[in-house]
Subunit: 339 residues, 2 copies
C-alpha cells in the first residue's frame, strides 16, 4: 500500500470523472457541487448521482482555497503531552471533532525554537485558530509574532488579560476540600503542598488559609508546608506535622501524590484513616487516588471540561464573537474512603 | 484577535502584492517562486526581494493542489492518549516535525464509528500517511476501507503480516530481566503478571519460562501468576507466592505497578529488598518505578523509539520504499535499588 511521492493517491475519482459520467462540463460539475450558479435540477441531480456512484470526495485543499478556511485548529502543548495536558487536549479534540474541524498537534516541549517552528508551520497551513496548553497553572506570555489568528489558552492562562484563557477554579477546589472536612467534624487541618513558586501550590494554599480563617480555625501547624509534588515529600511532611501537632485530624494535600505519601506514613504509624485522621488529595489522578490505601477523597479539576470549553470559546472567536478574559471551570469533590 | 468567518486572515501579503511590488505579472511571480518557467535572474531576484519585504508566505493549500501532497500525517490512537500511546505519539511527532510534516491527531477511543469518522476526514484532507497506535500489544485488525494510503501500526501490530508494524521486543525484555537476576545469583524466581488474555502478559510469561527452562531453573512456585495490572494484585500475589514458596529470592513482574505492590508486601513483611529478595518491574514508568520503596529495577520498552521508528518507516512507505512486516524495537534494562 504505497503512493508515488509527488503524485496524488491513485484510485480516487476526480472531478473530471464525475463530469464525464454525468455528461456535463467540469465547470458545471463544480457549480453543482458548490451550490453556486444556476442549472436545471435534473442536471444537478445527475452530478450528485455521479458523485455517489464514484464515491467522489471533494478535495479539501481546493475548498480551503475557495473559502479561506482550513477547518483545522492547532493544538500546541508546551511540555510534552503530560498527565495534565493530555486530558485537556482530548477534551478539545472531542469538542472540535464533533464539527468537522481537525486538530494539528504541536509539541513544543517548552522550547522557544520549537514553538516558533510550529507557529510558522501553523500559519503556513492557515489554521483557523490555536489552543495553547501546558502543564502548570502559572500564567505564560502570549504567543509571539502570530498574525491575527484566534487563540485560546487552556490550563496555563496568558499574562495578557485581553487574551482568552480557560483555567481551573482553584478557589472552588480549596473550598470543596475545606468545607467537606469541616462538615465531617475536622477542626485541626494541616495543609501540605508543592513548591511555593508554583501558582497551583500558592493559590490553593492562600484559598485554604482564607477559608479556615473565615471559620476562625487556624492551620493545625500554624503554617502551610510547601515542598515537592511527590509521595516522598508527603511522607516526610506527614512526619513533621505529627511531631509539631500530634492532634492534627485532617490533611488537605496539594496533589494526590502528596496525599498518597501521607496515607502511607499514617498507616505505618498505626493511625486509622479516616477514623482518627482524614485525608483529601487534589487532581483525582486515578492511578494515585485508587492505589492509595485507603483510596483518596480528592478534588477533580475536570481537565477534559477545560479543553472542551477552550475549544468552544475558540469556535466563538473564529466566529467573530470572542470573549476575552479569564474563564474558570469549577472543580468537583470525589469522596472515597480517606474521609 | 479575531477573523471574519469565511474570509482569509487579514493583513497577510498575497501573491498579487508580491507581483505588484516586484513589477511583474502574478503568473511571473508564481513561476519565480515555484522555480518553474524561464525568466531572467534579475526578475526572479526582484520577486524574491518582494517576498522578503512583504513577509509573504506561500499558501500551502495551493501548493498541495499543485504537488498532490499535503505534508500531513494522521496519528490515530485507539484508546485516548494514554500512558503507553503518549510517548509513541511524541516520538512520531518528533521524527515527522524534523521534516516539515504536520500531525493530525485523531482519538478514536476504540469506537468504530469514531474511527470511520476520523478516517474519512483524514482521506478528505489527503494525508500522506497514517500511524495507528493503541494501548495494548495485542494485534489489531487493519484499518478498513482506506484507499491506498501508506499506514504503519505502532505498539499494537496489525493482524495482516503484509502491513507495516513496529512493536516492542518482549522477548528481549524478558531476557534482560531473567539474565540480570541470574547474574546477581538468584535461582528461585517467581513471575507475577497481568491478565492471561493480554498478549503482553502471555508473551512475557512464555519467554520467561523458556529462558528459565534453558537454564534448568523452574519458576519458584512452578507456575506463572496471572492476574491484573495493579498494585493490589502485586500485593496479593506476593503473599500467595511467599506462602507457596517461602524461599523465593526474586520477583520478575509484568509491569511496574505489580512490582510496586510486591515491594510494599515485602517491606511490610520485614523482608530486605534487595538483600533477601530482588524485584524487577516492566515499563520503566517513572512515577511508579521511582516512588516504589526501594526504587525499581525495570525494563524500559523505549516507547518513544517505537514512535520514531514508526514515523521513519512511514516516510519510507510514502517514498515508495515500504518494508512490510513486523519490526521490533529492543528493550533496555534500567538498574535501580530493588536488585
Amino acid at each position: 500500500m504505497t503512493a508515488v511521492p509527488g503524485s496524488p493517491p491513485t484510485g480516487r475519482a476526480k472531478l473530471a470523472d464525475v463530469a464525464k459520467l454525468a455528461g456535463v462540463s467540469v465547470g458545471t460539475a463544480s457549480k453543482a457541487l458548490s451550490g453556486s450558479g444556476r442549472m436545471r435540477p435534473e442536471t444537478r441531480q445527475r452530478v450528485l448521482d455521479a458523485v455517489a456512484a464514484l464515491d467522489f470526495r471533494p478535495n479539501q485543499h481546493a475548498q480551503s482555497l475557495h473559502t479561506g478556511r482550513s477547518w483545522t485548529v492547532g493544538l500546541m502543548t508546551t511540555d510534552g503531552i503530560g498527565r495534565f495536558s493530555t486530558p485537556v487536549l482530548l477534551g478539545a479534540e472531542d469538542a472540535l471533532g464533533a464539527g468537522k474541524i481537525s486538530v494539528l498537534l504541536c509539541d513544543t516541549r517548552g522550547d522557544a525554537i520549537r514553538e516558533q517552528h510550529h507557529l510558522s508551520n501553523l500559519m503556513d497551513r492557515r489554521v483557523d485558530g490555536i489552543i495553547v496548553t501546558g502543564r502548570r497553572t502559572d500564567p505564560r506570555p502570549p504567543l509571539k509574532g502570530i498574525e491575527p489568528i484566534p487563540t485560546v489558552y487552556a490550563l496555563s492562562p496568558s499574562t495578557d488579560p485581553q487574551d482568552i484563557s480557560v483555567v481551573s477554579d482553584d478557589r472552588s477546589g480549596a473550598r470543596l476540600a475545606v468545607e467537606h472536612l469541616m462538615a465531617t467534624g475536622r477542626t485541626r487541618i494541616a495543609h501540605i503542598t508543592g513548591p511555593a513558586h508554583h501558582a497551583a501550590a500558592q493559590d490553593r494554599a492562600r484559598h485554604t488559609a482564607d477559608l479556615l480563617d473565615q471559620a476562625s480555625l487556624p492551620l493545625s501547624t500554624g503554617r502551610v508546608h510547601f515542598g515537592e509534588w511527590s509521595e516522598a515529600w508527603g511522607r516526610r511532611a506527614a512526619e513533621a506535622v505529627l511531631r509539631t501537632a500530634p492532634d492534627t485530624d485532617a490533611f488537605f494535600c496539594g496533589n494526590d501524590q502528596i496525599a498518597r505519601g501521607v496515607a502511607d506514613t499514617l498507616r505505618e504509624k498505626g493511625l486509622d484513616v479516616p477514623g482518627q485522621v482524614a485525608i483529601v488529595g487534589y487532581d483525582n489522578w486515578d492511578i494515585m487516588a485508587l492505589a492509595s490505601r485507603p483510596p483518596l477523597t480528592t478534588i477533580d479539576t475536570d481537565l477534559g471540561e477545560i479543553g472542551r470549553q477552550a475549544a468552544l470559546r475558540l469556535l466563538d472567536a473564529i466566529g467573530a464573537e470572542p470573549e476575552p478574559g479569564l474563564h474558570t471551570v469549577p472543580c468537583r469533590l470525589v469522596v472515597r474512603e480517606s474521609t
